[in-house]
Symmetry: C2
Subunit: 605 residues, 2 copies
Amino acid sequence: MTDLDATFTVDFQPLGRRTRVAPGTTLLEAARQAGVGLNAICGGGGTCGTCRVRIMDGEVSPPSNSRAEDKAMAEGFRLACMTKVLSDVRVDVPPSSMTAQQRAQVEGLERVVDVDPFVRATDVAPQPADLHDMRADVTRVNDALRESRDVLVKRWDVHAMRQLPQMLRDHNWQLRVVAKDTEAIALLPPGVSALGLAVDIGTTKIAAYVIDLESGITLGSAGTMNPQIAYGEDVMARIAYALNDDGHLAELQRVIANGLNELTRQICASIERDPANIVEAVLVGNTCMHHLVLGLPVKQMGLSPYLAALADSYDLKARDIGLQLAPGASVHLLPNIAGFVGADHVSMVLAAGLHDSDLITVGLDVGTNTEISLAGNGRLLSCSTASGPAFEGAHIQDGMRAAPGAVEWIRVIDGEVRYQSIDGAPPVGICGSGILDGIAVLRQIGILRANGAMVADSHPRVRKGDNGLEFVLVSAGERGAPRDIVITRRDVNEIQLAKAAMRSGVEILLSEAGLHYSDIQRVIVAGAFGTYLDVDSGVAIGMFPPLPRERFVQVGNAAGTGARLALLSRSCRDRAIEIAHRMEYIELTTHPRFVEVYADALALP
Amino acid sequence: MTDLDATFTVDFQPLGRRTRVAPGTTLLEAARQAGVGLNAICGGGGTCGTCRVRIMDGEVSPPSNSRAEDKAMAEGFRLACMTKVLSDVRVDVPPSSMTAQQRAQVEGLERVVDVDPFVRATDVAPQPADLHDMRADVTRVNDALRESRDVLVKRWDVHAMRQLPQMLRDHNWQLRVVAKDTEAIALLPPGVSALGLAVDIGTTKIAAYVIDLESGITLGSAGTMNPQIAYGEDVMARIAYALNDDGHLAELQRVIANGLNELTRQICASIERDPANIVEAVLVGNTCMHHLVLGLPVKQMGLSPYLAALADSYDLKARDIGLQLAPGASVHLLPNIAGFVGADHVSMVLAAGLHDSDLITVGLDVGTNTEISLAGNGRLLSCSTASGPAFEGAHIQDGMRAAPGAVEWIRVIDGEVRYQSIDGAPPVGICGSGILDGIAVLRQIGILRANGAMVADSHPRVRKGDNGLEFVLVSAGERGAPRDIVITRRDVNEIQLAKAAMRSGVEILLSEAGLHYSDIQRVIVAGAFGTYLDVDSGVAIGMFPPLPRERFVQVGNAAGTGARLALLSRSCRDRAIEIAHRMEYIELTTHPRFVEVYADALALP
């Protein structure tokens, strides 16, 4: 039963494009309306079979009797041109059905770029060899590339060259040559798309994305802990470890490379692709993570004047840092700005568009280190603050990472302190967003003084604990909690230090630019923690400037988004270099006003 | 006691330059006369101490009382400017005393090239860092290179970059940056010269040379057996082995790389230098050795139409083929011509100057495979013949390599067959030059027929052996010989096959060029065996064309010489590419006249 007067929503995955159409509209028409570039070589006549899609959810017209659709059906597909919408529908579009040069949309920031990757695949079918044409294999393929597509290959990666003779003969003298500039770096069988890998290497977490370099679609993604955590929780601890012994730097490099390999294998397994099809990776990270993944010394970053070994953007072979992608695959690292403002922040600025915004914008990438940028008055300023791992739940007595059972949300409702745990599971601890809410609430109901001290007897749940006063958020047994969950004076102190660092950074950048809080038109909050925190609580505890809620935008992993943009678009790579050049770095630790501003920022409003 | 009327010889090592001077001449004057570029910053006043040399042999004037000479003496040196020649003298000139851009002379062919290497070292002293100048180390060094010497470095090898921060700080912000084109590939402490490695990889033997890239001097050299011999004696056997299993190709690659590493370590130990100071290597070899050292498949070279995977000249990182030089060192391979005429032959043609000679010249690189070139009538033709390992003593009943005790020389003197063994040691076998002489002698005294058959009862030393008739060259006990040494009918046959292959190649090239034997103005005989063989014997058995002795030149390892030239001179590298392009390859096996010519060439004249 369908309602002929209604309109239905068609949701195209994995692109996340939606459109509303009248009942009976074909999926091909809906795709065009939604701006989804579906192949349709026969023009929608149901004969070519190139517009295959998978119906995930909803009701559509029965299959046509065309041979092309029968064939598609056998593999679980329908032809978009022959399939009419009879309810809300969710449709999965496989990469093979997407037109090339598809525009890529990335989550959160909704930035759209033309797919114009640095690394390109070209199909080639050289003349087979015989005794009258004894050109070497490499010469033969180079000539064919030049003749057929005007692609100039000047050199071959030795690994790609090692595969060439057999590939040519196994695939009947047809193959895809993947080239970076004028170097052939990989070979693929005809019809197999080249993949890219975008990675944001955080001090604590790593996020990776595998992308189809032809369609621009993110095929899969995953996150994991940075395995270097075992060697030191923050940047300074890692630097100290690396200094300790000649082999330690190489060990940290190996550990992160292995972590990236494992994560890449996981994602590839989930999308049924081979990591050897990945021909380029873009890595971003703070300057320390950037140096450690390259195996560059970090000693000089731990001592004044805190210098990077390398600031410029950099390209090298994946194999030179132990990454197991295509054997000739290339790795690009976006430029760093300074010892403590790295490529991840350049990536975030790129993704958030700070560099070409007309609005006075503050960008915060909240993590173990928080990088802050300010765009305004024609300038681009940045600084870095060691906000510490408190927002990840570390150094908090009952802190934990955001996982089932973590209290993630606390409010005062009808005078009562209420909370919510992730997945509604029995509460076992407090994650970053919960502790932020908790402090806002404790201040709101008068339990905390402005200096962060807890007022004795201010609330029935305030008690004396082992380390001074504490607030009992959850009592053992409550909703299945195995033990009490408390917020201590020390926890409040940790958060005060972290939020003061962040707030001082913003304040000093503003003063450098000759601006005031009220001038800020937009605050972009990036980073995994930044996505989940409650902005109102952030404002309430003074972490964020006192601005209306609507000026804040939470954008998720913007550094990862920037890495994906740089993977897909040459012009984005150029813009990253431009951002790094324009960015004026302000060193907070030696700034004359820092101590004063920081002391003021410790207070709770 | 010195004779004031005599003149004395001064021999400068390791350059091998000699000159005759009057008694009392200073070594500095002698060096100038000999064309040896000695440093003499103070102009010969005995004050700067830059003209240090070591007296190896002979009588010289007593030391001056200068402080500079006292200091030099303490390290075993004398100052050339203050030291007078009082007898024949042999002098060792350390590289540090040589002026840069010394002209390089190479053995045998006496080719002189301007030292203009691809890879160059530049001294740099960047501004030390402070809080007001926080440029990254790489930026700082790039800027200093551009400012001081106008050297443009656009990228850094990751390994060179890993060394940069510590090197800068250890050497007080001074160091040498070694760049290839616009890439910084290695770092050296101030004053340490960059080294190059030239290698000729033969099917049977490897010859390697370590060269000072600043002075052009060959500091050391060594040869060894190609360790791949364990996997097959000739090219076809290696190809067959590589085909047998997926891992075999990689194994052959690893074995040759290990062999090169071992040989390089040996040479470096003998000259007290570190292999990590070697910043570029030039490798030459036949097409199969070239492919195996790169790990390129050889399967297609074993099957018609016998194609190379790669013909062009090629550059890659030493580490990508497992060579342990400077971690960022580069490797250059000269171009190949065809499946069986490789970079070693291009190198030989380069060294012998065939490409720019006005003489009609035949070049023979005699080895397990013999490559032949003909330059004349404005053309450059080449072919390859499988001459087999008989010249190395293999497949000969009492054959052995050229080592002490090998009979190397056989003549008829006063009607008697006389022989000589290497080092006069008790004879134990016959080496290549000996077997060639032997067959010439046996033919000369009527023991051999033109078809190679032995005439029974033609000589008291002819007897019946296990495999037909044989000639007893040495009887057991004679000069301490542990057993009889014989030349058999089969041995003669092996040499007939080998020499016929070589001779047919020359004949077919001549006919292709429209020339006759008598037109040949010069025959260049290269290769280790080619150096030691007796040209008259070669002519006598018909291996060489019947030409006057003076048209033959034996040049030793010309392929190795070509590799050294390509290491030292950009223009030689360009010329190698030009040679490969101009060279017309003639495939003998499918040539219509080959069978006929070969059958005729089997006979002994």
